[in-house]
Every structure is written in C-alpha cells, then in structure tokens.
Amino acid sequence: MAKTPAKAADLAALRQRIRQLERCGGAGKAATTALPLLPQIDALWPEGGLPLGCLHEARSDGSLAGHAVLSAFAGSIGGRLGLVLWCARRSDAHGSHLYAPGLVQAGLPAARLLVVTAASDAALLAAMEEGLAHPFLGCVVGEIERLSLTASRRLQLAAEKSGVTAITLRPSPRAAEGGVAAASRWRITTHPSAPHAIPEAGKARWRLELLQARSGAVGDWIVEAPDAQGHLGFSARVDNGFAQARPEPRVFARRAG
C-alpha cells in the first residue's frame, strides 16, 4: 500500500489523537506504543505492531505442551519490553513450573524475571494489578484459570494508566471461554516442524491465531518459535485451514491443524 508522505503524516497525527482519546489523555509510556512481532502480522495493526499498555490474552489447547508454548510466547514479548512480573498459581494445572534456562532461550533473561506465586486466582489478580501500577515494569504476565469480564476490565484500565503491558495466559483445560476485555486475543498451539535435511528436530513451529483484536483484524499463521532475542520467524500463512507455502524451496506446505 503506497502512501504519500502527507497522507502518512495525517494518519500518524490521527492515530495519536485516537490513542489519546482511548487512554484518557495520559499514558505512562508515550514513547513506544507498539512492539513489532513479524512484518506479516504487524501490517494488520494501525499501531504497526502489538499495542503496548493494554491487556492481551493468549490461550492454547489445554495441554502441557500448549502451556509451554504460552510461557515462551509471553516470555519472548516480556523479555523485549523490560522487567517482567510473572504471576502464577502455586499449584499449576499441569504440575509443571517455569524453567528459567528454557525461558532464556526464548528471549527472557533471568535478570528480567520476577516471579510471584499466589494461592488463589483472586490473590493472583491482586498481584497483577499491583505490578501494573509500577511503570518501571515492562510487562506483567498472569497464568490464570478464571478471569471474569470485570476483572479483565480492571487489568485493562490499570495497564492503560501506567503504560505497562499485561498478558493473561489461559493454559488450563478448565479455563472458561468467557468475554474478556482484551486488546487482542490469541490462540497458540504447537505445529510440526519443517522437514530438515538431517534427521533431527528443526526449529520448533507454532500455529498463531489472532482471534480478535481491537483493530478488528484477525489472522492465522505458522511461525517459528522465538530465538534467544525473542524474535519470531515467519513460516507460512494459513487460509481456510491450508498453510500457504512461502516461496522458498525448503519449506513444504502441509495441512495445518
């Protein structure tokens, strides 16, 4: 899409105005408003990337593998934003816990991670809100089972006020599909890796579905899991359930899902 420079400037001014209206005039971190994920995904957002200072939600298929994928997804985003407050339940739905050496390889260094374990969802939400009140944090992540519309709205308001990004992960198979006041909702699941020349596991791949976004965009992609800097790699776009091969010989198109 080609734009003349004047049009682009007008658009940027309009977007700034809309942001100010949306955030009641005062955002904590006005300097950066979006985090680029992948060019193919960023094109869908008016901000030019994942909008910051609001609530995002990600769910998976309820399996432990899905939980690991969600952890790495939130870790890769949080590690690029700064200090991450990670709120988890003391007893996890799958009997597993965060493993820092693995998060480092998804782009979240140990120095940027502060963990809080709560006994209940209520205490976890309170800890998240507390974290969202501190603008020096980059991101607040919560692994939560039950999230009501009211609670998600509170998180969204707290995130808007301080400019800290909030991510709720719903790894539990019991996590209810309720209405959530999030700027974007994702579904992320594992996907078989691309065939490799030598018989060993290649780069892990995920199926990344953008179910809902404030801008109205939706999408469905196959991506490569984040590297140690937290950057995703693009693999294919899924249309009507079929992955569209990108024009490179080593990737092969296959049925997704």
């Binding site: 399996s63 432990l64 593998a65 939980h67 690991a68 994928v69 952890s71 790495a72 997804f73 870790g75 934003l81 700064g82 200090l83 407050l85 799958h94 009997g95 597993s96 816990h97 965060l98 493993y99 820092a100 050496p101 693995g102 998060l103 480092v104 390889q105 998804a106 260094p109 140990a110 120095a111 940027r112 991670l113 502060l114 963990v115 809080v116 374990t117 709560a118 006994a119 205490a123 309170a126 800890a127 507390e130 501190h134 020096f136 944090l137 980059g138 594992t190 996907h191 078989p192 890796s193 490799h196 060993e200 596991a201 290649g202 892990a204 791949r205 995920w206 899991a225 984040p226 140690a228």
Partner: protein
C-alpha cells in the same frame, strides 16, 4: 496478674580466676580498690578498701588502674547483648545490668534455666557473673550480690542479708550498724513511720523497692541504631480511621528522622498500648531498607485488621529496626535501570499480598542435574544467566520427573512411541542423547546414576524432554522431565 521478674547480674573484669586481682582508682589522696575478683575476695579484699591495706593482706595481688569509661562501654555492650533475652534491659553501673524478664522466661525453659543461660553466656565472654531473678529489681540486686544468686521465689529470704544489700550509701549503712541494725530483718522490725524521720527517706524507699511495696521502673536502653516515635493521646482512640491517621503521623515523623540520617530501615514495629494495659503489636518486614513514609504507612494500615483496640488505645510507638544506610542506588534489570527503592517497594507490596516466600527470582546454580540448575532466590539480587546456551532447555519442567512407558526399537535408541498421562504419542523426530551424571557429592543414592536426555517431537509438533536413567546392574527406566515451547 502481672508478676514482674527482673534478673540482675553482676560482672567483673576478666583475669586469671585463681590469682587475686583488683583494679584501683585514685580517690583524693589515697588509692582505693574499685573492683575485686573472686580470689581476692576470698582473701578478704573488698571494694572501697585502701590499696595499701589490700597489699598488706596479699602482697602478690595484681593491680590495674580502673578505666571507668572503658568499663562503662563494655557494660553497655553487654547490655546490648542481653537484648536477646528480653526487649527491656538497662545497665546498672558500675558493674551490673538489669533484664526485665517479665513474660520472657518461658522462652528459655523457665526462670532457673534462663538465669543459668545468662550466666553461662557471660562466662563464655570470660567474665565472672552472678545472676538472680526476683519479683522486684531491688530484690534481684540484693540476691545477686549478697545472696546465693539464682531464682528468689520469696522475698522473706532477704531478711538475713546485710543492709548493704538495699543499695544504701556506705555512711548510712555505717550509721545503722552503730544503732545495732545489721540485717534487713532488723530494719523490718522497726515501726515504718519512724524510719524516714530517723534515717532519711532513702532507707524506707529502698526497703519498699526490694520487697515490692514501691514500684521501681528501669530505664531500658534502645537497641543501637533504632529509631522510635511515640504518640500519646489525651482521650483513648479506637476507630480504624483514627488508627490509620496515627500510623501516618508516626511514619512521617520517623521517616523524617531517617531521612536526616540518610538511613533506611528493614523492620518496623508498631505497638499500640491499650488503656487496659494490653498491647497490640504489628511487625512489618521489608525487602529493602526504606524510608518512604507513604509506603510504610500503607503496609502498616493493611495489617490494622488484626488489631483489637479493646476499650481504646492511649499511646502508639513506632520503632525502626535493622537500619542501614540508604543512598539512592540503581539496580540493573538488564533493560533500563530501576532505583532499588522503587523495586523494593514493589516487592514489599507483592509480599504483603502473597507472602514473602512467594516473591522470588530464578537464579542459576552450577549443577549437573536440570532440576537443580534453577532455584528461587532473593528478589532483590539480579541473577545472571549461568546456563549453557547451546543445549536446548524446556520452558516448563515437571518436578519430580514422571515415569513414562516407552517403546524403542533397540535398547540404545530414542523412543519410537511413548505413553504418558493416558495419552499415546508417536515420535516423529528425536534428538539426543545428552548425557548427565548424578551428583554423588550431594547424595549417595546418585552414585553411578546416569541420564540420557532426548528431545522428541511428536506427530502433533509437541516437543518433550525425556530421559532414560540407568544404574549399574538395573534396567533402563524412562522419565518425562519437561516440555519445550
């Protein structure tokens, strides 16, 4: 009823215990003995005696000049040490100290055991000490110096002690002796009303203080580097709003003090004194030294619900403990810096919601086994990445590892299919092994343990971390240890 028990112990200067040893000071023209050790006392040398006379009694007596300032410092240091036994301690110059053991003795296994512990502790410092516990400070003073020491259950035992045990000046004791009054029992036999007229007001006061007829407060020392603010109210207060206002005022004053000294504190003790004599304490511990009044007041107010004001609260005291210098410093979060006190404030607030143990960072430990390589660490210290970057590690770990039923084509091969948590997985790609050994220096059961880790990808693209463990002479067993993203 509140039975006030006070322990009184006496300490003298260290020296070889079997040699007579005294310290002497110049008193006018003569040099007099100030303190004696047990061996000198056994030979009849007493305090206040002229040094020349002491030398006549035992020419071999060792003499050192008294150093009142250094001794006072030592006494204060000992008094501070006694804070471990009770919060109310005071020096009793020149050679004693008070410990208000009210309500503290049961923590040390009873009164006798507590006295015993104190004496042994002082002996460990190389001091000769005697301690006594009694219902009044005066009785404890007398029993430690003139009685047999230990726990005095009944003040009637004081009757046989000389009048000097009542802390009376030497000339008063002399005057009483001339009248034939030598023991406390003699004084008790006189009509009360006549005693102040004949001997001055001190004698009756000291007698009453020893026997419990008059109250005697001790002037407790503050723990070193503690700061305190107190508010007393003309009318008792009870509503939560009033208590919250009190907290805010106390913390503001206290933090002003700390601010002037460029200090911060890690512990705050707030004590409400009720009009019925009870106390309602709140203790607050912080992750990082702080002097942010709003922060401290918020955390203290959050604990108000545990306070029962009863019929009203007449005074409130806020003490700052564990004081450390607090200059603004920065901690590195590896992506912009945050001042340590900002970060400490966040940690405190989280800890007050979920508990101190549940706020932590994940720090690396040099260990062979993956489950020991990352541990929970203090939130205030920024951990470094110490893990090898070239070996893939899972994002989530199962602890403990769970047994898996595995089918492999050959014993040494990676899994072809496995069954875990009631689901069958067929392996598409496998990578490994990565071999790890048990840490026999930590646990004898790990001698000879060996694990071969495989990274497997299933048909659905899920990636698991499985290991095969083998010990000498046993079959291989498979475990599931983690899941990759």
């Amino acid at each position: 009823m509140d039975l006030r028990r006070r322990a009184q112990s006496r300490a003298s200067s260290p020296a070889a215990p079997d040699k007579p040893f005294v310290t002497a000071a110049t008193d006018g023209r003569a040099r007099t003995v100030v303190a004696v050790n047990a061996a000198a006392a056994a030979r009849g040398i007493v305090r206040g005696m002229a040094l020349a006379r002491a030398r006549v009694i035992d020419p071999a007596v060792e003499v050192e000049p008294a150093r009142p300032k250094a001794e006072a410092r030592t006494l204060f240091r000992l008094t501070v040490q006694m804070l471990r036994y009770s919060p109310l301690v005071a020096p009793s110059p020149p050679d004693g100290l008070w410990i208000d053991a009210t309500g503290a003795a049961h923590l040390f296994g009873g009164a006798a055991a507590m006295v015993d512990k104190i004496v042994r502790r002082l002996q460990g410092e190389g001091l000769t000490a005697r301690a006594a516990m009694a219902v009044t400070p005066g009785a404890a003073w007398a029993w430690a110096r003139y009685g047999s020491g230990g726990v005095l259950e009944d003040t009637a035992a004081l009757n046989a002690l000389p009048l000097a045990a009542l802390r009376l000046p030497g000339e008063t004791v002399q005057a009483l002796r001339r009248l034939g009054l030598k023991r406390i029992a003699d004084l008790k036999g006189l009509p009360r009303a006549t005693i102040p007229q004949r001997f001055g007001p001190d004698v009756l006061l000291r007698l009453d203080q020893a026997l419990g007829g008059a109250f005697e407060p001790i002037d407790p020392i503050l723990p070193p580097r503690a700061r305190r603010q107190r508010l007393a109210f003309a009318e008792p207060i009870a509503t939560p709003e009033d208590l919250a206002r009190t907290i805010l005022r106390l913390t503001t004053d206290l933090c002003d003090d700390l601010d002037r000294a460029q200090d911060g504190a890690r512990q705050f003790d707030l004590v409400f004194a009720r009009i019925d004599g009870g106390i309602e304490p709140i203790r607050l511990r912080c992750a990082h030294p702080t002097r942010d009044a709003g922060h401290i007041a918020k955390l203290l107010t959050a604990k108000l619900e545990n306070v029962d004001p009863g019929f009203g609260i007449e005074a409130a005291t806020l003490t700052a403990l564990k004081i450390a210098p607090l200059a603004p410093r920065q901690i590195d979060t590896n992506g912009g810096t945050v001042t340590e006190s900002d970060f400490g404030a966040l940690v405190d607030r989280l800890a007050s919601r979920v508990g101190v143990r549940n706020v932590f960072r994940l720090a690396g430990v040099a260990s062979e086994l993956p489950e020991r390589a990352a541990v929970a660490a203090s939130p205030m210290r920024s951990p470094q990445n110490q893990w090898p970057a070239h070996w893939p590690r899972p994002a989530r770990l199962l602890s403990p590892p769970e047994p898996v039923y595995v089918i492999a084509l050959l014993p040494d091969y990676p899994p072809a299919t496995f069954r875990w948590r009631d689901r069958s997985h067929s392996v598409r790609i496998a990578d490994g092994p990565e071999r790890m050994f048990g840490e026999w220096w930590r646990d004898a059961r790990e001698v000879g343990e060996q694990r071969d880790y495989f990274r497997v990808e299933t048909e659905k693209g899920e990636r698991y971390w499985l290991f095969r463990t083998s010990r000498p002479g046993a079959n291989a067993v498979w475990f599931m240890h983690g899941v990759f993203a």
